[in-house]
Amino acid sequence: MKPKEKRDRRDFVRGASAVLIGGAVLSAARNRSPRLVWQIDPEKCTQCGRCATHCVLAPSAVKCFHSYSICGYCDLCGGYLRPDAKSRNTGAENQLCPTAAIKRTYIEEPYFQYTIDEDLCIGCGICAEGCDVFGNGSMYLQVKHDLCVNCNECAIAHACPSDAFERVPASEPYLLKSDRERRIS
């Protein structure tokens, strides 16, 4: 074999090794950086309604969450009843949720439990607004990660007027009010 040919092969092996090693190092580094997903900070959310209209999915991947540890189980729930409700019952004309996604269940006098039907919820946040104004803020919006397709440029985050959307680690994908309370306490 001629010396020039020998050198060429050596150079090729060196180059290929460098590419392989570099790739492996980059890949390892990428695996170590946490995967991030979109989530709504409930403290910043102003329930503007854009979560319902700007998600690439229809209905939106944003849903109402209910923190039972914060809820007062009120008969006169501000998240369930319209401000001008004629009476406190399950009549459609009294319900604040336009899609009737909140279910009201009697527990004992005078307490009621409110549960969210995710299939009906479109993430408009009107219940969260009512609960925030008159109740304890136990109803709030979160991105549901079994529905979210995790777009790189989240359309809702782009439209959010209060900058409430943020990237969080996929290992802790929710910003729950009850968890926050537990951490504070």
């Binding site: 501000g78 005078p110 109740g135």
Partner: protein, 316 residues
């Protein structure tokens, strides 16, 4: 025109059309929500000016941060509690404490009773401290009133009013559900639970989950009650209202609400007498509007969002 140029022109036209259609369809999906999704309380923020019988005068401006407790002493002095201190008006004397009081009362001899979430701190005139612990592990004290014999303490955490002797000791429990004796229990969805004394010395307590004010004998036996629900100015709205109240010398009720912040006066039977301050006189979202009344009928409203004690006098 050459065929190649023609083809390019067609290609560009088609791409522009596709892009335009895409933008149109994309934007048409992002329409605003309809009228059914509007949540507006504007209608309820408006108050008929003829109902407002009070006018706002110069507020008291404490030098404390995070004001949270208000009391009018029998001698007419105003006490304001905030972060790490209590301030007295009009002399602006400041007395140190540790923490932020949740409620306060002052008796005839100037002793100050401070609710500090789970215990009562009693400060003598010389500011010497005595402590009474509230029973139960989840105490959250929200109001105190003092009379000659007893000290009543509202505990939103345990949903009880504790009646202490003036010397302290084991308190008597008021408000435990007892259907046989007509006690339905206090429904307190959030930490707003106020008490005061009527002109006859009996205890009045707000039952916010029912929009009711309830009158009790000193042994906890219920005497009477009234309630008013509704978003209109005659009633109380949302949960946990009235959040605060105070009794006037004639037995009328000065009430303050959260959610739709407004201060009103209700007659002894619960009917609306007049409005003291309308919702548009407060910052949106303000909570914790504690109220107090002095012997001359002046109404004091603790406004945490402005860190002031706002003062209202009846219009001449």
């Amino acid at each position: 025109m050459k065929t190649v140029t023609k083809n390019w022109a067609w290609f560009i036209c088609i791409m522009v059309l596709i892009l335009g259609a895409g933008i149109y369809l994309g934007q048409s999906r992002r329409t605003e929500l309809g009228k059914g999704f509007d949540y507006s309380l504007d209608e309820y923020r408006q108050v008929d000016p003829s109902l407002i019988h009070y006018t706002e005068v110069e507020p008291l401006v404490p030098t404390l941060e995070k004001i949270s407790a208000l009391a009018v002493a029998p001698d007419g002095k105003i006490y304001v509690g905030g972060e790490d201190a209590v301030q007295r008006f009009p002399d602006a004397g400041t007395f140190p404490i540790v923490g932020i009081p949740t409620c306060m009362a002052v008796d005839d001899d100037g002793t100050v009773f401070l609710g500090m979430q789970d215990h009562v701190e009693i400060r003598s005139k010389a500011w010497k401290k005595t402590v009474w612990m509230a029973p139960g592990g989840k105490a959250y004290l929200t109001s105190i009133v003092v009379e000659d014999e007893y000290v009543y303490v509202a505990d939103a955490g345990n949903r009880r009013v504790w009646r202490y002797d003036r010397a302290g000791g084991e308190p008597l429990e008021i408000g435990k559900k007892d259907s046989a004796n007509g006690v339905r229990g206090f429904n307190i969805p959030s930490p707003y639970f106020d008490v005061d004394l009527g002109p006859d010395g009996s205890l009045w307590a707000v039952n916010p989950g029912y929009h009711a004010l309830e009158n009790y004998r000193s042994d906890g036996v219920p005497i009477s009650s009234w309630k008013r629900s509704g978003f209109t100015i005659e009633g109380f709205s949302g949960c946990c209202n009235p959040s605060h109240f105070a009794l006037m010398p004639d037995g009328a009720f000065v009430t303050a609400e959260k959610g739709l912040p407004r201060v009103k006066i209700h007659n002894q039977d619960g009917s609306l007498r007049c409005v003291v301050a309308a919702p548009n006189q407060f910052d949106e979202g303000v909570v914790g509007l504690d109220v107090a009344v002095d012997d001359e009928g002046r109404i004091y409203v603790l406004d945490p969002s402005r860190n002031q004690v706002r003062t209202f006098e009846e219009k001449k």
